[in-house]
């Protein structure tokens, strides 16, 4: 396991940012997904010892966060959400400095800084002062300083924030490439669902400091495959009630059609059999949930309803 959390709580005074989270992030790429203020950044900062932990336990790469923070930081890379670049240093100087601070020998840090800057696409701009960089370049240099020491675990906090579509795509490609090349696990905190879909094997959905979903992307896609939008001819209310009786989840947001989520391992053509049984005719049957975004929105709606 890359990260293990047990009732992990981070609070700023009376405000609880991460509320007794119990979860584990296996090796690979995990997306930490949630709206703004969900506690994603606080969770990462708590794991790195950047903010104090109220209660609970956490381990990174089998090292206890409370007692072995210094050791952990040597093997972990962190790309913060903020700009956090040291003015006065060149791109090369900054990445080299970051490498040396992580414990790399000066010569290795220098050589590696060149390599990493080329890898993130800043090879030509490496002798420029970091304060002259554009937003996209700043995101890239932040990634470079986080990976210069080839960490075993990389925390990326909103890595595509402020980037144009092309830059965003390149950044996601870069993340995919890094996770594919080495033995590095990645935790990607973002509120952009597509970023998670494109880069991660697993997703942890966080809202109001609590875990709402912790699943493999593949499994979620399975869930997506069991939801359909249906339009019928006949007594719609009776058919909805009939479906609910068969264990289906029915959502009727549209006058023309309604969404049905079938029970697990129920093939879609069962709907036709049930329609015949209920005396209605199916006029339209299409997959209802097309993206992970729908799952995310659904979880948020559930969360919202629970707090009403």
């Amino acid at each position: 396991m890359s990260v293990q959390l047990e009732k992990f709580t981070v609070a700023y005074g009376p405000t609880i940012a991460v509320d007794a989270v119990t979860a584990s992030f296996p090796a690979g790429t995990t997306g930490l997904l949630g709206p703004n203020g969900a506690g994603k950044s606080s969770l990462i900062k708590g794991l790195l010892g950047l903010v104090s932990v109220r209660s609970g336990r956490a381990a990174i790469l089998e090292h206890d966060v409370a007692t072995e923070c210094r050791t952990i930081r040597r093997f972990v890379g962190y790309m913060p959400e903020d700009d956090c670049l040291i003015p006065g240093l060149t791109g090369l100087g900054l990445v080299r400095y970051a490498g040396e601070l992580s414990g790399m020998p000066p010569q290795d840090a220098m050589q590696r800084a060149h390599e990493v800057l080329f890898a993130v696409g800043l090879g030509e701009a490496r002798y420029r002062k970091v304060e002259t960089y554009s937003q996209g370049m700043k995101q890239r240099i932040k990634l470079a300083q986080a990976i210069v020491h080839d960490p075993k675990l990389l925390f990326l906090d909103e890595p595509t924030s402020g980037m144009d579509p092309r830059g965003r795509q390149e950044m996601l490609d870069l993340i995919r490439e890094i996770s594919g090349r080495g033995a590095m696990s990645i935790v990607l905190a973002t509120h952009i669902l597509v970023d998670v879909e494109r880069t991660c094997d697993r997703v942890v959905i966080l809202t109001r400091g609590q875990v709402r979903e912790d699943a493999r992307i593949e499994d979620l896609r399975g869930e997506m495959a069991s939801a359909f939008t249906v339009r019928i001819e006949g007594d719609r209310a009776a058919f909805e009630s009939f479906l609910r009786g068969r264990g289906c989840e029915v959502r009727a947001d549209d006058k023309q059609a309604f969404d049905v989520t079938l029970p697990a391992r129920t093939p879609p053509n069962t709907l036709f059999a049930w329609a015949e049984e209920a005396g209605v005719v199916v006029r339209k049957l299409v997959p209802a949930i097309q993206t992970l975004e729908d799952v995310f929105v659904k979880r948020l709606e559930e969360e919202h309803r629970a707090h009403l």
Binding site: K45, L89, G103
Partner: protein
């Protein structure tokens, strides 16, 4: 196998733990801080050194000559000579500390770079220690190094061991005086840099140094008012190091205590202001 591959590659080297991240911070900081103003200041502050070196030379030439007895008396080399040199460099020391130190922590705070340090194996003591060494390096260039050099020149020009036998303690006194001055002034500069912005740090530092000095001058009839002045306390302690007459009426132990309090306050401010992440409530 590709001839040239710019893609990400794993690193297979080994980490080193010695001498520590404070050394990395100090080394990089010394290079980054080096700028035109500082170089000019360092050149300018070498003039007093040249004058003192000439004094040593003249003393070695006419010291034993009875014809120039009164002049030789004025040129005599003793503890007070070195104390005078260090006191004379005081203003330059403050300027160097301001130019090198005003932005040291303030700029890291303003650019939110502290999380970049503290997400690595860097502790508070490494960070502050590294930043302090940057100031100590530049302060040493205008105080410690020339003072020790003057001692060596004097030894060289005397040509016998009599001076060394009599004044062997002077290098230790120079070191001690340097350590106390830089610890207090450097600590205060770092604290001000952590508390104020990079643009206002210089003004705040001058205010912290000279406002109490003005108060002390106004209340000159009350000796205890001297405890509020960093400069007065430092001058009092320097006289102890060089075995010269105390410049003020207040107690030396009290002066040492006051300096310790200044240092303590500086550390407390640093503790309070150097946080890896700002919490906005």
């Amino acid at each position: 196998m590709p001839i040239y591959d710019q893609a990400y590659k794993p690193w297979e080297g080994a980490f080193v733990t010695k001498p520590g991240t404070w050394w990395v911070i100090a080394r990089t900081g010394v290079r980054t801080v080096w700028q035109k103003w500082l170089i000019l200041l360092l050149i300018f502050s070498s003039f007093p050194f040249a004058v003192r070196a000439v004094q040593i030379y003249l003393n070695s030439r006419i010291g034993g000559d009875s014809q120039f007895e009164s002049i030789a008396k004025q040129l005599e080399i003793h503890g007070g000579f070195f104390e005078g040199f260090l006191k004379g460099q005081g203003f330059m020391l403050v300027l160097v500390l301001v130019i090198a130190g005003a932005g040291l922590i303030a700029r890291d705070r303003e650019s939110r770079a502290l999380s970049l340090y503290f997400s690595r194996p860097v502790e508070f003591r490494d960070y502050v220690g590294g930043k302090f060494l940057i100031l100590a390096f530049y302060a040493g260039l205008i105080t410690l190094v020339p003072a020790l050099l003057l001692f060596v020149i004097q030894l060289f020009l005397t040509g016998d061991a009599s001076f060394f036998r009599e004044f062997y303690w002077i290098p230790f006194s120079i070191l001690g005086a340097f350590a106390v001055s830089v610890a207090v002034l450097g600590g205060m500069m770092l604290a001000v840099s952590a508390a104020a912005g990079s643009r206002s740090a210089a003004v705040v530092f001058f205010a912290v140094l000279w406002f109490p000095e003005i108060i002390r001058n106004i209340l000159s009839r009350i000796p205890a008012a001297g405890y509020f002045s960093v400069g007065a306390n430092l001058r009092q302690i320097l006289s102890v190091f060089f075995g010269t007459e105390r410049p003020y009426d207040f107690s030396t132990a009290g002066a040492a205590g006051a300096l310790a309090v200044y240092l303590g306050i500086s550390l407390a401010v640093l503790r309070l202001r150097i946080r890896p992440t700002e919490v906005i409530r």
